[in-house]
Subunit: 123 residues, 2 copies
């Protein structure tokens, strides 16, 4: 288990020395790294949230993109949507197990960005 995993990761990503245009990874990558997808996943990383809460926490997102992005993530099995039929209705969004796996890999990246952002933009 001490194999450098960088080589194997690259082997899995490259096909015939290229990053194929038509492949499942490209589609999922676009979902996950979409402008709002990343932020929603980070927002949900600590706890589940309601619609209105997500709207407030992820500043700048429009209702349209919130709905659209959540639907995509839900369809991908990354986010779970739980409806509590009440008046007024209550809908909670949470990460699935798969979503938590993903976020675990996403957070270090976000941390690096948070650490380096000022420095990068100061150039």
């Amino acid at each position: 288990m001490t194999v450098s995993n960088e080589v194997s990761v690259l082997d899995r990503l490259f096909t015939d020395g290229k990053l194929a245009a038509v492949c499942p990874s490209r589609i999922v990558l676009d979902h996950v790294t979409s402008r709002w997808g990343v932020l929603l996943l980070v927002a949900l990383s600590e706890r589940s949230m309601r619609w209105g809460e997500l709207r407030r926490v992820v500043e700048g997102i429009s209702e349209k993109m919130l709905a659209q992005t959540l639907r995509t993530l839900e369809a991908d099995g990354i986010v779970d949507r739980a409806v509590t039929p009440s008046v007024p209705p209550r809908v909670d969004y949470a990460l699935t197990d798969r979503g938590r796996e993903l976020v675990a890999l996403l957070l270090p990246l976000m941390g690096w960005i948070a650490d380096n952002a000022d420095d990068i933009l100061a150039r």
Copy 2:
């Protein structure tokens, strides 16, 4: 140094309980997770490449987006552009130290996506 870094990562990302709309992280995040940014970084992760090489390896990228994305990454100090004045001209792109740091965090994520993409889209 055994502090759970998940808490601190979130602390750094959230401001006043929110993901601020106007902050350096959001800008850099958009650069890094841009549609083509990720793929270019992965392509350069193993070795430096020439313009035409990147164009071929990252399938589907247009010349405009290749130029634009490379310029952004260069301005961010993530990618280095080395011009060899010859006829025909030769331009090589490589990761900077900062770029290598970033890619080290990006590859595990890409690996997970490659592993799970089929499963995710099969639903």
